[in-house]
Amino acid sequence: MSAATIVSLPDQSTARIPKMNFLTRENGLLSWLLTSDHKRIATLYLISITFFFFIGGALAGLIRLELLTPQTSLMAADTYNKVFTMHGVIMVFLFLVPSVPATIGNFFIPMMIGAKDLALPKINLLSWYLYVGAGIMMIYTMAAGGVDTGWTFTTPLSTHYLNTHVISTGLAIFVAGFSSIFTGLNFIVTIHKMRVPGMTWFRLPLFVWSNYAASILMVLGTPVLAITLVLVVLERTMHIGVFDPAYGGDPLLFQHLFWFYSHPAVYIMILPGMGVISEVVSTFSRKRVFGYTAVAFSSVAIAVFGFFVWAHHMFIMGISNYAALIFSLLTMLVAVPSAIKIFNWTFTLYKGSITFETPMLYAFGFMGLFTIGGLTGVFLGTTGTDIHLTETYFIVAHFHFVMVGGMLMAFLSGIHFWWPKWTGRMYPEKISQFAAVVTFIGFNFTFFPQFILGMLGMPRRYAAYPPEFQALNVFSTAGATILGVGYLLPILYLTWSLKYGAVAGDNPWQATGLEWQTQSPPLTENFLETPIMDHEAYDYEWLEKQNIARQQQKEVASAG
């Protein structure tokens, strides 16, 4: 690693965490459970989603262990079905969807626009309670025996043929969906109505644009999932419905309604991560993001086009050829704005002053892995190749590249980037860089072989597979072990840093956002005085002038 670093910490012998901050303002359990402070709610979310991440991760470990051998060795095939279903449901709905928005978004969107809180603080708290409720229902489902339909709940398997806990899972996801809707609603209102004077749309940090786009998807897409789950529950209980051919229904109708949400859902998951990358790439290149307007509009374009492509999950299910053609064409279009972002981040790096602190390492990981994942999406969006690749490990590899290699890396990048602001303390740099590299290596060993497995024809969701696939599976499992270490380390050293980390000061990264212009951790009201926004986003010259002015103020104060 380069010895160069942009970190500028205060003098550790005299620096202290500010006594008055959002963590110390009030004490006691109730002050946390009944809080309306967006920063406390974000902290509650961070703890809860980390908890569910590890449950989902443990399930992933079980999957990889089972797949070490071609036969079903560890568990019955039915159990394996339950394991991968719960893994998918928990990771998608209880981790990825809320990951960046509910934690980093909740904490920093108000600060980035200069506001004191989100527009609807009580709804924000309700969102968290709905999330916790959904989590409890999910734990109940697992304890009661789980569900084995796959996270996609395809009918009539889920409505007619299986005896597992479809209803409780469906209800849990319904509740989690409303948690997501309220978060998105809150963000949209906040971003429209609570920007401080001078904070025009095109001066917003790109993180805000990305979350805004994701919020539109949350608000417009999630309700369709909600009604779909209601219909599935009704069909299971009343034994009549619109999805079962025996009654005259159409199983494809379920898939249309399900994927109408679940495709935009993948953009809900990735867009906030892309927002993080914009912030991190700019800060660690000391350069404004190249083509700000293009990146901002591409976020919105991804959101809009993301609504038009859902049936590319259904190419082999029996939709008409004409519909498949249209959806395939539209899928090609939606790849373009994502590519624009990758290009623009790359151009941001060009002639930038690059340093390799942990957030930047994760960001580099994102850019490479998301690109690979995204490109493989093009193969899948092409109907001809999709017929061969769908329902194989190619799909599994594709979405893990974008979600884990992409989104999860972006989440970790964001957590490390904003950790000093959130907690007032720096994480330990060397071990965190090591963990980032371990994660990158582990990830590639785990998931790259799965592309090959998929092309060779190994189907997904099978506990047993032909013996010729074993070598690659063993390789993948070995990688998963390394990946597990990479994810475990941050828990350990971040917790350690809460007590022993270096005091961070206001702006250890010398970043330009409004959130860095106040103390770490922030006050409950965020800012002592409402900030006025009088400069463009990512204006490092403005930051220089601020620093000089503050330096002069200090000298005057200490002299006088």
Partner: protein, 112 residues
């Protein structure tokens, strides 16, 4: 900004509400009557017929909806953002229904 707020707090008169109310009742009567009449069809192409009854019923329903939205829900006097939000709602609803139906309607067209 203040102009916008004057707009928002524009108080719609009870007379307007009463007229809209009556219009809605008239619309209801019309749509019931129309359902009893056979309004015929339009043969756009062989195998593609448009029946007028559902078109008329939906048109009347949509007109009633517009009256409720514009006047009872004050959208006529609301800021542009509200109007944009309502339009976005319609659009997304049409995308959901339209693109899903596009699959169903083209299945019978058979293979290439």
């Amino acid at each position: 900004m203040s102009e916008q707020h004057e707009q928002e707090h524009h108080i719609v008169s009870p007379l307007t509400y009463a007229i809209v109310f009556l219009a809605l009742l008239v619309g209801t009567a019309l749509t019931v009557l129309a359902s009893y009449a056979d309004l015929g069809e339009w043969q756009i192409a062989p195998g593609l017929t448009l029946f007028w009854n559902p078109v008329v019923a939906l048109a009347i329903a949509t007109t009633k909806m517009m009256l409720v939205v514009l006047f009872f829900m004050h959208v006529k006097y609301s800021p542009k953002l509200t109007k944009l939000t309502v339009a976005a709602g319609f659009f997304m609803f049409l995308v959901l229904v339209g693109m899903t139906l596009a699959d169903y309607f083209t299945r019978a067209w058979g293979r290439w």
